[in-house]
């Protein structure tokens, strides 16, 4: 791993929202790295802050932000130092882009999909429309959408095709990194497999890096080089994919892995009892302690992040 270039380095990223009930600590001190040509998967239950993490990295923030601090190095440059306008011009879509959750419904219903895919090139790469459309048709080829679909509207496309168009839109300016937020959770299994085939191909051919955000461990393994497990606003385990899927370290990751219904093999799945803590006032000690079966006295204190053979885990068991 050491010989690879670090593409993205996130340090102590914090994103808190103010609401009428208090401050929601959606992203609470997140650290991780991503090498070029690799994919990291962020897994966690709903409400653990994984979508907020994506938004924090891409600086797509709502109005009620309370705190937004930390460092995000993209190829060595701290993009958090840039002003909003500089960020918009230099980083978003030029270097990092995003396929939003439910991307199939994110397309504009009254624009032709070709025009929509061409738009980022016109805005960010100062192309003329004809050129941008040509670029869009090239992207359609990459993601496997027939050329004549350029002139169609979103409602004329199936869910899988719409998802591909959304991916083409994120690709069209040749960014280094694409953030995929639950790209397949609304799709059928065959379509899902198709989309992952496309993503694998893109990763191999174009040398793209991905951050894949999902709650579904089974499909996450389709793309992952490394895995980050998120719980209650924090990353509790980071590991390479091989060792993670073989044997996760953190008790939460273990439970998450055991809760997956499997098609093959006879392992009886289990589920995690209880609810994740409220992000309004998370517990002071380990945030998973309340649901953990391996809890002991020290869990009342906040566990440090412990490094172990290139993996890291935030749990007292490994201290």
């Amino acid at each position: 791993m050491a010989d690879k270039e670090i593409l993205l380095d996130v340090k102590d990223l914090v994103l808190h929202f103010s609401t009428s009930k208090g401050v929601v600590r959606a992203v609470d001190g997140v650290n991780f790295q991503l090498n070029s040509d690799e994919a990291v998967v962020v897994v966690g239950e709903s409400g653990c802050g994984k979508t907020s993490l994506a938004k924090a990295i891409l600086r797509l923030l709502p109005r009620n932000v309370h705190t937004y601090t930390g460092k995000v190095y993209l190829k060595g440059e701290d993009v958090m130092q840039l002003s909003d306008e500089e960020y918009r011009r230099q980083v978003r879509w030029r270097k990092m882009s995003m396929v939003p959750q439910a991307a199939m419904n994110a397309l504009n219903p009254v624009l032709k999909v070709g025009d929509q895919v061409a738009e980022p090139s016109i805005i960010h790469s100062a192309m003329r429309k004809a050129e941008a459309l040509e670029q869009a048709s090239k992207m359609f080829q990459h993601v496997g959408v027939p050329q004549d679909f350029l002139n169609r509207y979103a409602f004329e496309l199936s869910g899988g095709m719409r998802q591909r168009v959304a991916i083409a839109m994120a690709l069209v300016t040749w960014p280094d990194l694409i953030v995929l937020d639950e790209p397949t959770s609304a799709l059928d299994v065959l379509t899902q497999a198709n989309i992952f085939n496309v993503l694998k191909e893109l990763k191999g051919e174009l040398g793209l890096s991905f951050i894949l955000i999902t709650h579904d461990i089974a499909t996450s393994s389709e793309l992952a080089n490394s895995v980050a497990v998120m719980y209650a606003g924090q990353i509790v385990e980071r590991s390479d994919a091989h060792r993670f899927f073989d044997k996760p370290l953190h008790p939460y990751s273990e439970k998450l892995m055991n809760s997956v219904p499997r098609l093959r093999g006879n392992q009886e799945p289990d589920f995690i009892t209880g609810q994740p803590p409220s992000l309004l006032s998370p517990p002071t000690g380990c945030r998973f302690a309340e649901r953990c079966t391996k809890r002991f006295a020290r869990c009342d204190e906040d566990p440090p992040v412990i490094e172990q053979d290139g993996r890291s885990v935030k749990c007292w068991l490994y201290a």
């Binding site: 994919a39 239950e45 709903s46 409400g47 199936s158 869910g159 899988g160 059928d188 299994v189 065959l190 379509t191 899902q192 497999a193 198709n194 992952f196 085939n197 694998k200 191909e201 709650h215 579904d216 461990i217 089974a218 499909t219 996450s220 393994s221 389709e222 793309l223 992952a224 080089n225 994919a241 091989h242 993670f244 899927f245 073989d246 439970k255 998450l256 892995m257 809760s259 997956v260 219904p261 499997r262 098609l263 093959r264 093999g265 799945p269 289990d270 589920f271 995690i272 609810q275």
Partner: protein
Amino acid sequence: MSVQMNVKGQDKALAQDEVLAMKSDTVTSNDVLLSVKDLRVWFELRRFGFGHAGYVRAVDGVSFDLNLGGTIAIVGESGCGKSTLMKTILALHRPTKGDILFEGQNLNALRGSEMQEYRSQVGYVQQDPYGALAPFMSIQRILEEPQIINGIKDKEERDFRLRRAMEEVKMSPVDDFLPKFPHMLSGGQQQRVVIARAMLLDPKLIVADEPVSMLDASVRVEILKLLRGLQEAHNLAVIYITHDLSTVRYFSERVFVMYAGKIVENSLINDLIHNPYHPYTDALLAATSDPDADNATRFRDVPPGEPPSLVNPPSGCRFHPRCTHKIEGLCEVEEPPYFEPEPHHLVACWLYR
């Protein structure tokens, strides 16, 4: 009418009425609860509001029997007609052709109060729990409403029933949840309320339409086990509709694979996983992933193309344009009947003629 299934020779096609007699479970005797016979549900397309422009053949010749206390799963992609089949069973659509018999009574013949009586015996668990619960009603009211509509006038009895249902879905202490509104609950809790509502009137049949597909992977198994527990405790018949084969084995023994309005394979789930016959089932299984780091370097075999339009379905076998095992001159000409390559395992594919 529930004839014990005949085990036929390896290469003999089954006649239509023998297929009809195929039962959802191997339980004998004549305790058939629901019997679907050559059901067709077509929706008429109209041009400019009145000109006839063809039909959408959402369900096109589906037959099965479901026993009291039996479970079946229907697996298929979106647009294959599984939701239309379910809604027709719930009497929300009328069959274009064919019959649905519930305890021997034909749904087509039910009127007014008989229909209400039928509906009270069939519970419905929706796919999206948040969309299925009225946002302006408290949980108490959500659970009281169906009882009022179905004429349970005694307030105490209503209260007793709703508490019993809430305890059955393990939403306790009940009093904490009753005054809450749906948005205050997590997705898993909302789905429990939906299940409690389906259980209120002591139904004999529950239809669960993708009950876990909108939920987090970590609570899916919990909800499925809950449903399974209720099914066993009350001897409920359950139809479980899903697109995810990996969850079926935790719920049902028998599974029907549906493609373009037809059932293409009918088997026990373990036989289906280890020994699928239909090329479409094969593709579905190959596309389902288990957590494994090696997945990242493997490409999956996916049949080319997309499910066909149900307005003009392909001639012959409806899967033939995407099938890699197509037999020229046969598959695109003649529709395959059901073959039985092994006992209790039916497949509509010419490969097994």
